[in-house]
């Protein structure tokens, strides 16, 4: 019996390998330290945002506000954090707490997370625009230095992505709290029957999403060096796509942290690959949509095979 689940787990890595091989084939010069560094540098903030989204998806919700949130963090870090580190840090912490509050609201009132987070996205964007009406600000020097660090042998983005994947995997897949969090997505009734508080679980997961959104905003700022409220608008879509590419499912608490990071890498790489292919930039987003659909179609096929066996 071939194991379709194994196949499904391997699918994200397979996709990444194919895109990587295709990129090397089209543009052999990318097969170098600097080539990879350049192609993958934006993979780090995308991977962090994808991880944030994954925490929300784990408890069967969806976050449509993560993009503007990442933008807001960048804006705060490029302005308040420079002017007054204490105030800036406090503002960033408040943002994370706000995420937890939203989780509590969604759970307590049993609200559809899409509508709430869609409204929330306007709140984040509005605050960001209030602080910084037009692009500007300056990234703290330490962030810039961190994001452009030249690590020996292996480019920094790859090391960072692997580190994110491993840390989140350990936290979500191996700790005893991670079990409760995933169980809350898999069978909430059974969890409640065993005496666990669903409210607490949801708040913690939303706050974790807030923390990773925060890290994503800082990482992105380190790369762009100046802030823009709209810089990460597309991250909402990227993060959802990344989780899905990485083998996660929308319902049932089936997520895969390593896969999500790999999905984010694939998305970042696909952008570069499409440029090398000389596909017009017009089709950049379209091609990403097509990749998403193809992967979902492959998954549907695998699931179909699973059901039949």
């Amino acid at each position: 019996m071939t194991n379709p689940r194994l196949l499904r787990a391997a699918l994200p890595f397979l996709t990444l390998a194919i895109v990587l091989a295709a990129t090397f084939y089209v543009q052999p010069r990318t097969m170098s330290y600097f080539g990879l560094n350049l192609m993958l540098q934006y993979a780090v903030p995308i991977a962090l945002a994808t991880t944030a989204q994954m925490f929300i998806i784990t408890v069967n919700d969806l976050d449509l506000s993560i993009g503007p949130f990442v933008g807001l963090i960048g804006v705060i870090a490029a302005t308040a954090l420079n002017a007054s580190p204490v105030l800036g840090a406090a503002a960033l912490v408040a943002c994370v707490l706000a995420y937890g509050l939203v989780g509590a609201l969604v759970h307590a009132r049993n609200l559809p997370s899409i509508v709430v987070t869609l409204g929330l996205s306007f709140v984040w964007l509005g605050i960001a625009v209030m602080i910084l009406p037009s692009p500007g600000g300056k990234a703290p020097a330490a962030l810039k230095a961190l994001m452009t660090v030249q690590t020996p042998y292996v480019p920094f983005p790859i090391l960072a992505a692997v580190a994110i994947g491993v840390i989140v995997h350990l936290a979500l897949m191996t700790t005893s709290f991670g079990v409760i969090a995933r169980g809350a997505g898999g069978n909430p009734k059974a969890l409640a029957r065993a005496g666990w508080s669903m409210l607490r679980t949801k708040v913690v997961m939303y706050m974790l999403a807030g923390v990773f959104g925060l890290l994503s905003g800082l990482a992105l700022l380190g790369l762009t060096t100046s802030a823009d409220a709209h810089v990460a608008d597309r991250y909402t879509l990227y993060s959802i796509a990344g989780v899905i590419l990485g083998g996660g499912e929308f319902m049932g608490g089936r997520v895969n942290p390593m896969g999500a990071v790999v999905g984010a890498l694939t998305l970042a790489l696909a952008g570069a690959f499409l440029i090398f292919l000389r596909i017009s930039p017009d089709w950049q987003i379209g091609a990403q949509g097509a990749i998403l659909i193809v992967v979902l179609a492959m998954r549907a096929l695998v699931t179909y095979g699973e059901k039949r066996s």
Binding site: G186, R193, G252
Partner: protein
């Protein structure tokens, strides 16, 4: 065995008009295996949910080890008191591994190395109960076949960390187990009770109950009607204790319509679990009963017929749900809209639903089936359960359907309504409509021309009206393999 593990006194519980528990007293001694039997709807599951803290009884007293619990009885306090349940609906998380599922019920499994401890805990217990089980603690539950899932859940119920183990409730624990593993479980029950754990065993396999239990309690109509040592029972006496007197037989005998074997066949179906063998056949104007224990493939067969998959049906169909909330009612709509929804197409004139014709249809059926409401424009939820059910009958009978499928439609319906509806069904059948009637109430089968008894998704017996007796239906429902 004088010490009590748990005791219930005078527990009552009603759901609307239905009295699920009518004053039950139950004592389980320390180290005792108590067999609990009864036909569908006797109140076994409700009673177990009360014990587990999932349902609050209307009245009654509960004591644990002779002491009344200080706080309100809930899932958490029942858990803390060492009560574990294996219910029929699985309470494992399908996306987690077997070991991780053990973690969910054990708060103590945390901190460094919890996973290794969880693996050992569950593996040891699996080895103890089901030697040679072939389950890896790291297997994801969703990947396991149903039998192994059930084994994992049973083993989990017997694992002990910080909380003591007082009572384990096993509700149909062997329903998905093969003969060998079922035997292993029964052997383990004996071992576990010897250690002082109390066990309540619910099973429709009477052989299992007779061999594994120390004492047997028989429930009927929400009461415990017999409680004696297991040795004093045998299959026949147990069956007799469960059954009800076939009341009203004389009356229904006269009312029963004549069988119509010469009428054209309108439904021909083979249940998906059937393989080769007998088919389900319905003639025009017949009332066909589907019987057997709940969840043995009757509803599935009805749905299969409704979807016309593996079934030939001549004529339009309508479906009357028994589970009103999930299968029947549109709870934002008025009573009238709930009645007419099945007939919208025939009410359409020039593309639009004719409001006059719609109101007319609703009024007609309010009068014919006596839906008690000041206005058919009131929301459906303003009706009592019985009247909601009548609305569903009106929906089906008011439509153009010639074949009516009924999925245990009298659940939670009061006696008066039932009698009205029985009469209506007979009248409609006499007028040429055909009925497929799944019912968990044996009495209702007396209205049928032929009864198919289901077991494990298959038809085990077809009984004509003339040969129908409760004993025969019970026999076929509880038929064990080889008998």
């Amino acid at each position: 065995m004088s010490a009590e593990a748990i005791r219930l006194d005078g527990v009552e519980k009603s759901f609307g008009a239905v009295r699920a528990l009518a004053g039950v007293d139950l004592v389980v001694g320390v180290g005792e295996c108590l067999g609990l039997v009864g036909h569908n709807g006797a109140g076994k599951s409700t009673l177990m949910h009360v014990l587990a803290g999932a349902l609050a009884p209307d009245t009654g007293r509960l004591t644990v080890g002779g002491i009344e619990p200080k706080t309100a009885w809930s899932s958490a306090s029942s858990q803390a008191a060492g009560i574990r349940c294996v219910f029929q609906e699985l309470s494992l998380c399908p996306n987690l591994s077997v070991a991780e599922n053990a973690r969910i019920v054990h708060g103590a499994l945390s901190g460094f190395g919890w996973k290794a401890r969880a693996r050992t805990l569950i593996r040891t217990k699996l080895d103890e109960i089901f030697p040679g089980h072939g389950i890896n603690p790291d297997d994801e539950v969703g990947d396991l076949p149903i039998g192994k899932r059930q084994m994992a859940e049973i083993a989990r119920a017997f694992t002990v960390t910080s909380a003591p183990l007082r009572l384990v409730i096993l509700d149909e624990p062997t329903s998905s187990l093969d003969a060998v593993t079922a035997e292993q479980l029964l052997a383990y029950i004996a071992k576990e009770t010897a250690r002082g754990t109390a066990i309540i065993l619910i099973s429709h396999l009477l052989g299992e109950i007779l061999s594994a239990s120390d004492r047997i309690v028989v429930m009927k109509d929400g009461k415990a009607v017999a409680a004696r040592p297991a040795k004093t029972f045998d299959r026949a006496s147990l069956m007799a204790a469960m059954g009800s007197d076939l009341n009203d037989v004389a009356v229904s005998e006269q009312l029963r319509p004549a069988p119509k074997p010469d009428a054209p066949v309108v439904v021909r179906a083979r249940p998906s679990g059937q393989g080769a063998g007998s088919e389900l056949i319905v003639h025009k104007g017949e009332i066909t009963g589907l019987a057997g224990l709940a969840g043995h493939g009757q509803t599935k067969t009805l749905l299969q017929i409704f979807a016309r998959q593996g079934a030939e049906v001549d004529g339009p169909m309508a479906f009357i749900a028994g589970d009103r909330q999930s299968d029947g009612i549109f709870d934002l709509w008025s009573i009238a809209q709930n009645v007419t929804v099945r007939s919208l197409r025939s009410l359409t004139r020039r593309g639009f639903v004719d409001p006059t014709a719609e109101a007319q249809l609703a009024r007609t059926w309010r009068d014919r089936i006596a839906i008690r409401t000041p206005s058919m424009d009131n929301n459906i939820l303003t009706l009592s359960g019985g009247n909601q059910q009548k609305t569903l009958f009106a929906r089906a009978l008011g439509s153009d359907a010639t074949v009516i499928l009924m999925d245990d439609p009298m659940r939670g319906v009061d006696v008066g309504t039932k009698l009205e509806v029985y009469a209506m069904i007979r009248a409609e059948a006499a007028a040429g409509r055909s009925f497929l009637w799944y019912t968990t109430e044996v009495d209702e089968l007396t209205h049928c021309d032929r009864v198919y008894v289901f077991r494990n998704g298959r038809i085990t017996e077809a009984i004509d009206a003339a040969d129908l007796s409760e004993q025969r239906v019970l026999q076929a429902s509880f038929a064990e393999s080889g008998t």
